[in-house]
Amino acid sequence: MIAVMIISIGAVMNRAVTYYKQEPWEEYLTLIGSIELGSRRLVELSLANYTNAASPDSTILRNNLQKWQINLTKIYPGYGVIMNYTLANQVYNVYGTSLRYSLGLNQTWLRPSSFSAANSTFNLDINSVGLKGYKFTSVAFLNLIILNVTTSSNEIAVTVKGDGGIPVTGLGEDNFQVVGFSISKATSSYDQQYLIVYKIKYVGTLTLPVTVKVWDTRGIQVTAKYP
């Protein structure tokens, strides 16, 4: 009798320890991860579209999210995926700067420190597993700061920050544009204050103010003006 009890307890303990491996929730974690990344990509794509259009469509993020909401059920059929979103529509403090969003988008340009940003909060339900109210926020952000312009050496020093206020690396001359001038070279170097500073060499004689544009690898654009 004692032997049966010991073995039964052993079996129960084994089941308890390996329970997580047998349950289907892992599958749903991957589903959540996939939807979360897709939603972030959509926010980035909408901001890229908004910042590159000649006449920006301020409803682009909302329209894309409406379509995404419907298309999610086609992409993941049978899961009972219901996604709702709330677009940022007020002043938010983003990495130490106050940004006013309208329909989830912000474009603060033509300043020495300029921004493009998008922000949306999502609420996800997966009815097939009884998941309700899983919340996550997707933020896309790009900040271009013109630090100084040295006309004597035809050089503009800028720094570029992305999501999380983290300096953006790997940009080259193709990612920058000095309005009215061609760029001969763009190099990056370490800086104690900004971590990464890009030195843009332009061709020609420049008179201030100067306008600089940047595109990151996601296609998001920011236009800054100095001074």
Partner: protein
């Protein structure tokens, strides 16, 4: 008389031992029915799904999956999957648009159809992509979802 009693006791002990062993064996067999060992199909399917999803997620995080799918770089997608998946895992990938139109050229696979039909554990991973962004002179950011289905099995 004393000797007889002792013999009886010993016989009972032997019987008890045999009975206990029998009970233990029955209990062990009973437990084994419910036990899910690490090599069982139940674990294998979950593991393969995890591997498949992680590979697609990593490729997407690096911006490679969208590039391969939207630019039709099927050979690159095949090479990326071949490099990132374990060597004993065979795969077959299909890409659809939202109208269920097949978009790939049926070359994104490793192994043959027999491996998938004969294997006990074939799993599928569904992954959604939202759209593509082309940077540079031909700038384009388009919302155009794609559904990537990755079938996996071990050889």
């Amino acid at each position: 008389m004393k000797m007889k009693n002792r013999n009886k006791k010993a016989q009972i002990r032997v019987l008890e031992t045999i009975l206990a062993s029998f009970v233990m064996m029955v209990a062990l067999s009973f437990v084994n029915i419910f036990a899910t060992n690490p090599t069982s199909p139940k674990y294998e399917a979950t593991e393969l799904q995890k591997v498949g999803y992680n590979v697609l997620h990593d490729l997407d995080e690096q911006g490679l999956l969208a590039r391969f799918v939207y630019n039709g770089e099927w050979n690159n997608l095949r090479a990326a999957l071949r490099v990132t998946l374990p060597t004993d895992v065979y795969f077959n990938t299909t890409v659809y648009d939202l109208s269920n139109r097949k978009l790939d050229d049926a070359t994104v696979f490793l192994g043959n159809s027999q491996i998938f039909t004969n294997s006990k554990n074939v799993v599928s991973v569904t992954y959604g992509l939202v759209g593509s962004t082309k940077v540079g002179a031909a700038y384009q950011a388009v919302y155009d979802p794609r559904i990537v289905i990755l079938w996996l099995t071990r050889g």
